[in-house]
């Protein structure tokens, strides 16, 4: 099949990449994906579904990258591959120039569902990752967890159980738990999708503040263009399945950002452009599909 690649890196938005102005961040790419191919078996047959194909992505330390795309495009699959849950079938996917062996404490995942352990208090949920890796004394872990709870604004509920918390509070605990293991790469899979719209906006600003405080490198999967543009240094737009990145947008504003940004015409323009690319890619894929079936 002829692959029609229409990929222009740094799509004319905001000029130079943010990392370029900062020499400490330029050293080597933290994560590199080249022509990544991910397949999974179709249930009940020997066929495979191609989830991700010819996907290229480079992430520097300190980057905040958002992956947006139509649902089922393979963006979460790519995230799972980076986390080490899913093996790749082709191409290279390297972290600091080493292949990814499997799940590890250097990458922490924040899922859409908070998935807190209901029999543990908030504090014990946050120390959970540290307990598993056994790298830290109990008192030290508790101390770090207390600090993180303060960072996410939940210092007063440390002793409560998850069932007693609101959805937004659970999302904060979820984030704090991932940060507790001090990951090199924070992987977020639509972490705010299940939260109401108002809390979501608050959480987005909170996330930027926390990332600035902890100097986190993050990959954030979302289907919400506005969210992606508000959070990211770069927004990578996926094509429909089999997913690849059709265009990257540089987001020019310094992080952390505040809510006024959402009301500026520049922000709206960027969102429109991202949406244009996204829907263009969807239309193109549909055309190809009809062509293929006519032939």
């Amino acid at each position: 099949m002829l692959s029609t690649r229409s990929r222009h890196t740094s799509g004319g938005q905001g000029g130079e990449p943010l990392g370029a102005s900062d020499p400490t961040r330029r050293a080597t790419a933290h994560l590199t994906a080249q022509r990544v191919l991910i397949e999974y078996p179709k249930p009940g047959s020997t066929d495979v579904t191609t989830a991700v194909q010819d996907c290229d992505l480079t992430i520097e330390r300190g980057d905040f990258v958002c992956l947006v795309g139509p649902s089922g495009c393979g963006k979460t699959t790519l995230l799972n591959a980076i986390a080490g849950f899913v093996p790749i079938a082709g191409g290279t996917l390297q972290l600091d120039e080493h292949d990814i062996p499997g799940p590890g404490p250097d990458r922490a995942m924040v899922f859409q569902q908070p998935n807190l352990l209901p029999w543990r208090t908030v504090l014990a949920n946050i120390t959970y990752g540290l307990e598993l890796s056994r790298t830290m004394k109990k008192a030290e872990a508790r101390q770090r967890a207390t600090g993180l709870l303060e960072l996410v604004g939940l210092a007063d509920v440390a002793g409560q159980y998850p069932a007693q918390l609101s959805g937004g509070m659970q999302a904060r605990v979820n984030l704090a738990r991932a940060l507790a293991v001090d990951p090199e790469l924070l992987l977020l899979d639509e972490p705010f999708a299940a939260i109401d719209a108002q809390t979501r906006e608050v959480m987005q600003a909170e996330l930027l503040r926390i990332c600035a405080a902890k100097d986190v490198t993050a990959v954030f999967v979302t289907h919400d263009i506005n969210e992606a543009a508000f959070l990211a240094d770069r927004v990578c737009v996926f094509s429909p399945r089999p997913g690849r990145i059709v265009q990257e947008f540089q987001v020019p504003w310094e992080r952390p950002r505040n809510h006024e940004l959402r009301r500026t015409p520049e922000f709206t323009k960027l969102c429109d452009e991202i949406a244009g690319t996204l829907y263009g890619a969807i239309a193109e894929a549909r055309e190809q599909q009809t062509e293929g079936s006519n032939r």
Partner: protein, 288 residues
Amino acid sequence: MSATSSPQAAARRQEPPEAGHTGPRRARAARRRWPSWLTEQRVVATTAVVAALVAWQLVALARVKPALILPGPTDVIGAFKSLFSASAIWTDLWTSGEELLVGLLLATVLGLPVGLLIGWYRRVSYALNPFVNFLYATPRIALTPLLIIWLGIGSSSKIAIVFLMAFFPILINTAQGVQALEQGAVRVARCFGASDLQLFSTVALPGTVPFIASGLRLAVGQALIGVFVAELSGAQHGIGLMMSTAGQQFQTAKVFAGLFIFAFAGVSLTALLRRVERHFAAWRPSTH
């Protein structure tokens, strides 16, 4: 009408103070406070039990049936007195108690790990399910004659029956608990690089505790059935045997006494387990 002496006012005072009390009424309630253990639930429950006992006594006193057929509560108390004045009752209690507790303990010690394995490993469940289904569907009490042939009429055959009765509720509940585990929690643990053993001890076991506890409560009821029936079909000592002997001799009050001993054992074991359950399940959103 004076409110302080009316029965309605007294009943109202039993309610918790938050239940919509207005200022002056609350002030009046505070003047004559009831002790904290005297909850509405306890008062009503105790009244109902006392009423039932009184009704029973009245029916017995009316002598619709002779005392030989239907003894009253006072006759049963008399039977208890005569039972505990002899030494045989202690042997019976000890024998039945040992059968019950050893059987239950064995069922727990074996049923828990096997249940966890069945719930955790699909292959283990494939291999063991035919046996579990067969034994669960069979009235296991029907194995009593077989076990008595194999193990004799001593305690060991009774323990085996109690074990068989109690084993399956524990096993099946535990396996169900593991299978009902939140997969999200398992993914989180895996993501943090948990080993199988860590996954087991930090996710599978604590998540299964409520299921295990209800399995244990069911097991107590089944075990008591096991003790009684096993002793009926051949024993040297035991409360069940004592009851059946008394029944054959028309010592009806003594039969009632045995019945109450069984009931007491069941109720106190269940209450104990409920307490344990509550201790472990503090994290659950409270339902009462």
